[in-house]
Symmetry: C2
Subunit: 187 residues, 2 copies
């Protein structure tokens, strides 16, 4: 029985061991190496991922070939192209590994089975979806109305402990600034 998965879910809801067996049976453990993709752009998105180990990012490439980073994710975070997953459409962002990673994957079908069998999991995923919404709202307000320095400070608050794990180029891309500007923010 996965101690990690159980701890993660029990942070928000109560489950008996029998109920947790159902949960666990619907997840698949997967390992990915640095630079491997979990979701590629313009493909069906069949799963969402809970991270046990590693660091991942979701990003999009614009028409000039430039990468824009939507989010980073570390252990206990969820990642995917949630928009495409929930709408069962092709992805508009890619998800790949910044480090070797281990995740728990659940498919669209299994998510629906899980919520039907255990309605309390609706609550779990409602709360998680609300948290995801909160993170995106902060990101939009940051992008729309803040200076590069304020965006950098928001980044440090939102991703405590991440900074030493991320290449500076990726942080610059997340903030929407050049490497040179980022160096000035560091100092």
């Amino acid at each position: 029985m996965s101690h990690f998965l159980k701890t993660h879910i029990r942070e928000l809801i109560q489950l008996t061991d029998d109920e947790f067996e159902i949960v666990q049976s619907l997840f698949t453990k997967k390992k990915f190496r640095k630079r491997q993709f979990l979701v590629q752009e313009h493909q069906p998105v069949t799963e969402i991922y809970l991270i046990e180990k590693g660091i991942l990012k979701s990003s999009t490439i614009d028409s000039t070939g430039k990468e824009h980073i939507l989010q980073f994710a570390a252990p206990h975070w969820w990642i995917s192209d949630f928009a495409a997953f929930f709408k069962q459409e092709f992805s508009s962002v890619a998800v790949d590994c910044i480090e070797d990673s281990e995740v728990y994957a659940i498919s669209y079908e299994n998510l629906n089975i899980l919520c039907s069998k255990l309605p309390v999991m609706e609550r779990f995923f409602r709360i998680k979806s609300n948290f995801g919404y909160v993170a995106l709202q902060q990101r939009i307000l940051s992008l729309m109305s803040k200076t590069a320095k304020e965006r950098y400070e928001d980044f440090l608050k939102q991703y405590p402990g991440f900074i030493e794990h991320l290449p500076k180029q990726l942080i610059a891309s997340y903030l929407g600034v050049s490497r040179e500007t980022l160096s000035r923010l560091y100092s």
Copy 2:
């Protein structure tokens, strides 16, 4: 019994008339005039709103006094500072009426009572939260990686039928362009 509220909820889940009576008892109908605020910045956010009539917006004012628009909302949309509401923190966006509006309001306490009494409402709000997430993800990708013309096209797709109801200044603010740039996009 509110036909509007019942129709809105039954689009996603099934409820008996008795169950719907519980739902309705936990909502409050409210009317607001053009320019009135439902949520003000830096205040507690006690309710979320389902719009029956009118058009509203959520926005933030930056340190230079410039308004940035997070979203517009019309009948059958929900609006609030959801981030502040779910985290029970002070608001970072304001919500006000672009036209005279009528809404169904539900408080944080009543939302929790509702989901406890009728677990199927967890499903309703999970799906709604997912939709909200999808809209924000599209907004971020638009802000990060698209040209003004592409953002304008995204706006038309996301808000069909809105354009004739919105002052051009607000559309320009939503897109993050000047009035002059917006005029060029129209033509």
